[in-house]
Symmetry: C2
Subunit: 402 residues, 2 copies
């Protein structure tokens, strides 16, 4: 289903106020300014009241299958190590009935009311839940197909080499229709970097799918794993088809470690996904952008067993990127926002993404004098439009969640 | 003016629902639980609807005199260095008519609607604005005396040794009624650490006032300045009367640098104020608390010429403290909140601060199942009470700003 819509008095990307006409789910035309209203008889009209018009946000790194959203408050109890969080989660998924279909639907609706129109989600594939996560998220993807586009990553959260059977499950997940092959910490979690990465890239090659690997490993260890990823990307001719999520090692203070990696990442068009955590070194956003490296952003887990934070607001994520990178000038804050919009679109390879005529009409209206003010103030979204259809208004979703 | 108030069905610090009676601006009694309503004929009643009851937030580090709040969006243009921000600000204060009285009043009202009931503000004293900042903030303090308690720090933002006349202005500011003697970066800004610190501590001694010094200097340089502050605190017997704001050097990764400083800070009861910035190393909150060091928090500048961020929401500050320190378990998130409430009260030496009978009735009602949820979700404040008087409701201030 696509839709027609006339947005009156909106400011595309903070520019001059004008009307914007949507026809058949795409932006058809901009008006010539405030004194030249567009006319489109029979087309539904929304008054933008001078709000900013920006493209729908791209939530490029999250975990839809295991949010606790809407399940009441649960005390957070996991220990400090990554493995503590993984093991606590495996236990609580059963104890708490964290149903992937229900929970992914809830997070999708929360994202939608915040203005997100595209999501890349990592879905746990492991020997505890099997393919239940994939099944649940695929059910949600089907149920919300008209209002949210979802890309799934088959994600071996608990490891694949250290868990018998997970390799087969990963293959089954790809057959079910996973869009991307996932991986994580091939040294720290799987204790077998060659084994995991050969398996991940092997699946990618066989299924003709891209790769997105969580890499929390810091410093020299992370650099080693990243080198192995780089080598495989080059060997398999997978330029432009690999994303490394987090890539904390690229936040290392030693430029002798970081800079050669960045050069090779840029040359192979490997993308980086960041959540801009405050507590860890992270890749420097402006440096990556300056090198032409595709950089996208995501919320990571939202109120899950790993931690209590998150609200799926990509304007807030842009603020957190800004705070993390000490972005203060308007053009820097605009870059943080761009990472949450066009940056994600570049990683998810979304065609015709934007607010210009010809673009898909996935749009957000938000109050603010400027793009930077929208990031700093993060007001409720005045209007969220998916393919020309109004799906949220004044911060309230018009689509129901379970 | 003090007030009476009966709060029905509230959960003090997230505990069991009960009624809370305020008499004469102080908490007079808690009920015995949901089945034993308090009776107080003639006293105004507010239905708490089961909301959390917490003490008013303490904004322990901000700059009321130079916020741009309510002045429309201004593009941020300052360069990357501290001195760029100082010099840009000196210029724009004049060009943009950043009136300290008007702007401090606006920020006070914004703070109030977010649930803050006490503010420590650093007020610029320099050779560009003279004492206009102090005059403006003192006017605001008088105008809002019934709804916000404000402590002023005479703050030589542009330096005192490098700026002829500022030493005299600092002395005049203290005579005008500044509550605290301020300072900043005695090496980096004033190029004369002995000179600045002797002057600052000399004023403190003569006026019998505490000290609060901005210390952005990192690593060994910051450690050196901090040692000079420690030496003067001990020599003058000023235990418990000195705050160091930011203290980024305490976030240095070298424990051989940090730990001896922390021991001496704890021994002399020097307090630390943090804004928990994501882009810089900061003192580790849990470590400081574990050593018994008083730790408070603040928003720092809110939407000023230094940067675009900030909304005076101390629940959001607690979240940022949590994110910065990788606090995930509920008790850790509660610690972050405690830093923004009792932590600030400890630094400002507020008597009878809390929600228990006998405490001043500076109270906030906020929805949430738990304290940690309030930090993660940051909903509008249901009710803000100052000395028993309702001053904000559902996120809207009942007190007007200019």
């Amino acid at each position: 289903m696509t839709h027609d819509l006339l947005l009156r008095n909106v400011r595309p990307m903070g520019g001059e106020a004008t009307d914007v006409l949507v026809r058949g789910g795409h932006v058809a035309a901009w008006g010539a300014g405030p004194d030249a209203p567009l006319e489109a008889p029979g087309v539904p009209v929304e008054d933008g009241a001078g709000a900013l018009l920006i493209p729908g946000f791209v939530e490029a790194h999250t975990h839809l299958d295991k949010s606790l959203w809407g399940m009441g408050w649960r005390r957070h109890q996991a220990g400090p190590r990554l493995i503590d969080k993984i093991e606590t989660e495996r236990r609580l998924k059963k104890e708490w009935d964290i149903d992937p279909a229900r929970q992914s639907a809830r997070q999708v609706v929360q994202s939608l009311r915040m203005g997100t129109t595209h999501i890349r989600t990592h879905v746990d594939v492991d020997d505890a839940v099997g393919l239940a996560g994939m099944e649940g998220v695929l059910a949600t993807r089907a149920a919300y197909a008209g209002v949210m586009e979802i890309e799934t990553v088959a994600f071996p959260q608990s490891g694949v080499m250290v868990r018998p059977g997970v390799a087969d499950l990963m293959e089954q997940a790809m057959r079910m229709g996973a869009d991307v092959v996932g991986g994580l910490d091939p040294c720290a979690i799987d204790r077998d970097p060659k084994g995991q990465l050969d398996l991940v890239f092997g699946l990618a090659e066989r299924f003709g799918k891209p790769v997105d690997i969580h890499l929390h490993e810091p410093g020299q260890l992370g650099a080693f794993s990243l080198e192995l990823i780089i080598e495989r990307t080059r060997a398999l001719g997978m330029e432009g088809q690999v994303t490394v999520s987090h890539a904390f090692c690229l936040g290392d203070p030693d430029p002798a470690l970081v800079n050669p990696l960045l050069e090779r990442i840029a040359a192979l068009d490997i993308a980086i996904a960041t959540t801009a955590p405050a507590s860890r070194p992270v890749p420097a956003a402006a440096t990556l952008r300056g090198l032409g490296i595709r950089l996208c952003a995501g919320s990571d887990g939202i109120r899950d067993t790993w931690g209590p934070y998150g609200n799926a607001d990509m304007l807030e994520r842009a603020m957190l990127i800004g705070l993390r990178n000490n972005f203060r000038r308007d053009e820097e804050v605009e870059m943080a926002l761009d990472i949450c919009t066009r940056g994600g679109a570049g990683v998810m390879r979304l065609e015709a993404y934007g607010v210009e005529p010809g673009c898909r009409a996935d749009l957000v209206l938000v109050d603010g004098e400027s793009l930077a003010e929208a990031v700093a103030a993060r007001p409720p979204r005045r209007l969220v439009v998916k393919r020309g259809r109004v799906v949220a208004r004044n911060g309230v979703s018009l689509v129901e969640s379970p």
